[in-house]
Assembly symmetry: C2
Homo-oligomer: 281 residues x 2
């Protein structure tokens, strides 16, 4: 059994980026705090209302704060209506004037992040496959950078304005490449499902009774378990223990992505070719 662990690459980069962002935010906060201490406000100014909310409570401010909370914490659980209220200097009840419920808040957070993080190139028909690959890789980067997005995204039909813009763009690229309507529509969903589920399973994922372990550690333990399995009963798992629990995530992602693209490309060339099957109707 070869012993190198080639897991992280992308994950490591994402973690570094996350750490950097957190550090920057921390620095800014410290600075603000120091200024406040050094240069006091005139005492006849009215003090900011309880808890230190400066800005008025608006839907945007709420979404801002929610993203802040999520970026700071780990996982979707870091965001609760109560903590969000606290972050904004109120109680949880106040939020319900601006937002119907938590589900709607998550819709808003999701759409905000799509808008900020997922710009789209204009369609270049000649290289549509490459463009789709780039889009998918970019999406995966974002999903690794903020693991909670996958948790929000999964099982949510993205219909916010930014999501629509993105969907529109991907559809444009696929159709420009000659993918027929039905397959283009299905393809967009297939793609989003794929990179979301992939990110979820490799990053956020790996729900486990042991709580806090990082995904790599969990996989390492599973790997050991696979090796300890009785070989007569589990010859294939024993043989493939390495491949099942390790492997470069980028290559692995590419494997599925290529399959999807091949499927779309096949549909495109079938549509171009003279039809052999009679049409119904």
């Amino acid at each position: 059994m070869s012993e190198e662990m080639q897991w992280p690459t992308r994950a490591a980069k994402a973690a570094a980026k996350r750490a950097a962002r957190e550090a920057a935010r921390e620095a800014a906060r410290a600075l603000r705090e120091e200024v406040r201490r050094a240069v006091p406000e005139p005492p006849w100014w009215s003090a900011p209302r309880r808890g230190g909310r400066q800005a008025p409570l608006t839907r945007d401010a709420i979404v801002d704060a929610a993203v802040r909370l999520l970026d700071r914490g780990e996982g979707l659980d870091s965001l609760s209506m109560r903590r969000l209220g606290e972050e904004l200097g109120t109680g949880p009840g106040s939020l319900y004037w601006h937002v119907r419920n938590k589900e709607e808040l998550l819709d808003l957070v999701f759409d905000r992040l799509i808008g900020e993080q997922l710009p789209l190139p204009a369609p270049k028909p000649a290289r549509w496959q490459q463009q789709v690959k780039d889009i998918a890789r970019r999406a995966l980067d974002v999903l690794f950078e903020r693991p909670y997005i996958a948790e929000i995204s999964i099982g949510r039909f993205p219909v916010g304005p930014n999501a629509l813009e993105w969907t529109e763009g991907v559809l444009a690229i696929l159709r420009a490449g000659g993918v027929p309507d039905r397959e283009a529509a299905w393809g967009v969903h297939l793609l989003t499902t794929y990179f979301t589920a992939f990110a979820f399973e490799t990053q956020t994922g790996l729900k486990t009774p042991e709580g806090e372990a990082r995904p790599e550690e969990i996989l390492e333990r599973i790997h050991a378990h696979f090796h300890a399995l009785p070989r007569e009963r589990f010859p294939n798992i024993a043989d493939l223990a390495d491949e099942l629990t390790r492997g470069d995530m980028d290559e692995r992602f590419e494997f599925g992505l290529d399959a999807i693209l091949a499927g779309l490309a096949a549909a495109a060339s079938a549509a171009r070719a003279p039809r052999k099957r009679p049409r119904r109707g």
Copy 2:
């Protein structure tokens, strides 16, 4: 815009099956209750301890009750440690002697269902692709029948005994078909990820602020929204509104499944063919 709604088929079948199961269980419960009423136990027997737990509290009994609870309710939220305690005639605390925490309980429930619901055929190398398709379709059926399974499965590396048996079987089929090791290992994950995510997105899925609507209704509303979009800005979404929100789920599932299989088949035939690329190492 053609107006037939061809959505349900599989979903409808699954719902019917679910209803039938529930009815059967209800009948059994009623019968038991009637017998109990008609033929009283001798009064010198000690009464069953509080709440009516008959069987001793064991890990198996707990998993049984959890599945019962999930089958009866809607979605994963129907299962809470408190309700589970109630179902078994105790408090939630008692469960923690047998089960480390809720996450472990879900591991157990998941493995139980895999064992009960997912039998595997012996590999027949000649028709491995057909076998894989059958396996995937069977899995999708199960996932539609009990929507909560997808919620449990997603992000969980299946390592229970039954899951291992299943994985072992699928690996055997893929390798018998000539799929090389790496692609076989990745392929199993790709497949499970695919049908889990697919089921999650189409059944359980569609998290939405409006709470209780059935998936079909939600999709219908989204469809209307897409049609109402400004056509100059969203020409593609407007064109494809039908294909984006409707369509036969089986065909759609097949589309992705075929892509995955084509990818695996390509890897298999590449392995058989004389190698053109030099090997590293």
